[in-house]
């Protein structure tokens, strides 16, 4: 069975190019991609994940407000019963040039499972997603 994943650009960000590429690539890789497009609120991500029974939410942010927009998504997921859902986030997540390791630490602390820069290799993202999904299933 195909895994369901939710995809979207969070907040008031309308960067649509990468979003269209992600949809295309993950559909080709065999996922059932529910693409919410640009300007997606945390609530819309969660509602879509519940409705579609998705096992991962992939959040993009390119415009610099990621730090404000992404805060609290993990807590809201837990509130809605999505205790195990994978949260991936990628893009230009903070205002200004910041080393990825520093950004990663910040977003891992916010409850995200994986953090990517704007030029992430999508084959690697796919590999990690497969591993993470397998780990969730085996209950580890």
């Amino acid at each position: 069975m195909k895994e369901n994943i939710v995809l979207g650009v969070i907040g008031y960000d309308c960067h649509s190019v990468g979003n269209k590429i992600l949809e295309h690539v993950f559909t080709e890789k065999g996922y059932h991609v529910h693409n919410l497009g640009v300007m997606v609120s945390q609530e819309e991500f969660i509602d879509a994940a519940i409705e579609t029974g998705s096992s991962a939410i992939m959040v993009s942010s390119l415009y610099g407000h990621g730090e404000i927009d992404c805060a609290g998504l993990r807590e809201k997921c837990v509130e809605k019963g999505l205790d195990d859902i994978l949260l991936y986030v990628g893009g230009n997540l903070v205002v200004g040039k910041t080393p990825l390791a520093q950004v990663e630490e910040k977003f891992i602390n916010m409850g995200y499972d994986r953090v990517f820069g704007p030029d992430a290799d999508l084959d690697k993202v796919h590999e990690q997603l497969q591993q993470d999904l397998a780990a969730r299933k085996s209950g580890s």
Binding site: Y12, I21, H24, H65, V95, D119
Partner: protein
């Protein structure tokens, strides 16, 4: 039907409602604004600066910049004019304000004060209000423009123009299709008719204000004919409301011949269509945007992209170039990086000051192709609008006749698929519903087949993806790895 110039009474009635949408709108008086604008020195007027540059054949440089707090924003702008030698200054507006989310913008201001750093990607001018705008305008020496991406920019225009800004970017199409998700096109066009009418009103009082439709659209493999069609229509819409100083723009595509040809075609098309619409008494200038797509992360490589953009913009005889920074791949730049982009661009255009690119038959062929492509779309738009472009463009976008690639707006068809040919020209692979002549379609297809052949693979979506990331990975054409 041609909507014509908005009736003053209808404008003033709408204005009352606009000013009530956020508390900082309430004190804005048109008469007081004219008094304030009248005492701004001529050398700080944006429209006059553009016209002077055009007459003297100079190319002005302008960065993008904006942060959450007033003092920090002033520091940033004065740095860019003093250290970066910017000719023209911007005030880039944050993304919450662009969507009229003033409460979220306030939260961003508060959190930025607390964090001692800007957590917003621009200057929230509506929240700061008219007096803060005047503080900014008075603190700098150069003409200053509002740059944003706001589908409903009426209140922002009221506050910033009363606040002393003398140029305003945007348009009903170019600030909807690339910048919104669910705004109907007729709504954003009506809201921008208001903005243009406001500028037209200032012109009636003798206050010269520049208007600049946003040329690059999605900044991603946009074929020149798409960008130019939008530019011409937004130019017509602005002039109809009494705008006198109009700057039309185009974003660098990457191929020298195509980019120079597009800028020449833009000037010719604007003059031709404005004349067809009986629009006179305007000054037309142009802006060239350095590469708007993905940038290399390495700063040395980014400088190469920046200076190539400056070179092409100068060869294309742009009156103004919008400059990128070596931090582009990582998001919002520091003030130092922003100034560095300006200095690199300055060196390039200064070395070209006395050089003229001979625009011979190779260029002329491409100029004529672009003009023929625009004609195909414009003919359909006039037909759909029963002779009127503003009416026709709404139907044309809905039916995919005018189609912007990779755009977020649901009013956009999104079926047109562009890719590069073997020499890096942006051509069209899938036309969607765009009514192009068979001859032109055959030409594009032939060019794409040449590329497919030289790469030993068939024309496919993979080429589009490869093209989108090519420059950030060090090339123009996305060749197979």
């Amino acid at each position: 039907m041609n909507p014509g110039k908005m009736e003053l009474n209808a404008f003033l009635k709408e204005r009352e409602a606009v000013l009530k949408t956020w508390p900082t709108g309430e004190g804005v008086s048109l008469q007081e604004a004219v008094d304030y604008q009248s005492q701004i020195p001529k050398e700080k007027n944006f429209a006059l600066a553009m016209e002077r540059a055009h007459e003297e054949g100079r190319t002005l440089l302008q960065p993008r910049a904006g942060v959450a707090l007033v003092d920090e924003h002033i520091k940033l702008l004065t740095w860019l004019e003093n250290e970066g030698a910017a000719d023209l200054l911007p005030t880039t507006i944050d993304a919450y304000t662009r969507q009229n989310r003033y409460e979220e913008a306030q939260n961003g201001i508060n959190r930025s004060i607390h964090a001692h750093t800007s957590l917003l990607n621009g200057f929230p001018a509506v929240n700061h209000g008219l007096h803060a705008c005047r503080q900014v305008v008075e603190a700098v020496k150069s003409p200053i423009q509002v740059r944003h991406g706001t589908p409903d920019a009426r209140l922002l225009a009221e506050i910033t123009l009363a606040g002393g800004f003398t140029s305003y970017e945007g348009g009903g199409i170019s600030y909807n299709i690339p910048y919104a998700k669910k705004v109907p096109l007729e709504t954003s066009m009506a809201h921008w008719r208001y903005v243009d009418r406001l500028v037209g009103w200032y012109e009636e009082q003798g206050i010269h204000i520049n208007r600049e439709p946003f040329g690059p659209l999605t900044g991603t493999l946009v074929p020149p004919f798409v960008a130019l069609t939008v530019a011409v229509i937004e130019g017509i819409a602005a002039l109809r409301q009494g705008v006198k100083s109009i700057t039309l723009g185009y974003g660098q595509g990457g191929n020298l011949v195509q980019d120079v040809a597009a800028m020449y075609a833009l000037r010719e098309l604007a003059a031709e269509y404005f004349q067809r619409e009986n629009l006179g008494d305007y000054s037309l200038t142009t802006v060239f945007h350095q590469w708007m797509g993905g940038f290399p992360e390495d700063e040395a490589k980014a400088f190469a992209v920046i200076t190539w953009g400056a070179t092409v913009g100068r060869f294309a005889r742009a009156d103004k170039i919008i400059v990128k920074t070596p931090h582009e791949a990582m998001g919002i730049p520091t003030k130092e990086a922003n100034a560095a982009g300006l200095l690199a661009s300055r060196q390039a255009i200064n070395m070209l000051t006395d050089q003229i690119l001979p625009v011979g038959p190779t260029f002329r062929k491409e100029i004529d192709l672009i003009k023929a492509e625009v004609s195909c779309i414009m003919d359909s738009i006039y037909e759909l609008g029963l002779g009127d472009v503003e009416e026709g463009v709404v139907a044309a976008v809905a039916s995919g006749i005018l189609d912007v690639p990779f755009a977020p707006a649901s009013c956009n068809h999104g079926k047109l698929l562009p890719m590069r040919d073997d020499q890096g020209f942006i051509r069209v692979y899938n036309w969607g519903k765009v009514p192009m002549s068979e001859e032109i379609k055959a030409f594009h297809l032939e060019r794409l087949r040449q590329r497919a052949q030289s790469e030993g693979r068939s024309v496919s979506f993979q080429m589009v993806t490869d093209d989108i990331y090519a420059i950030s990975k060090g090339k123009l054409v996305g060749r197979p790895r």
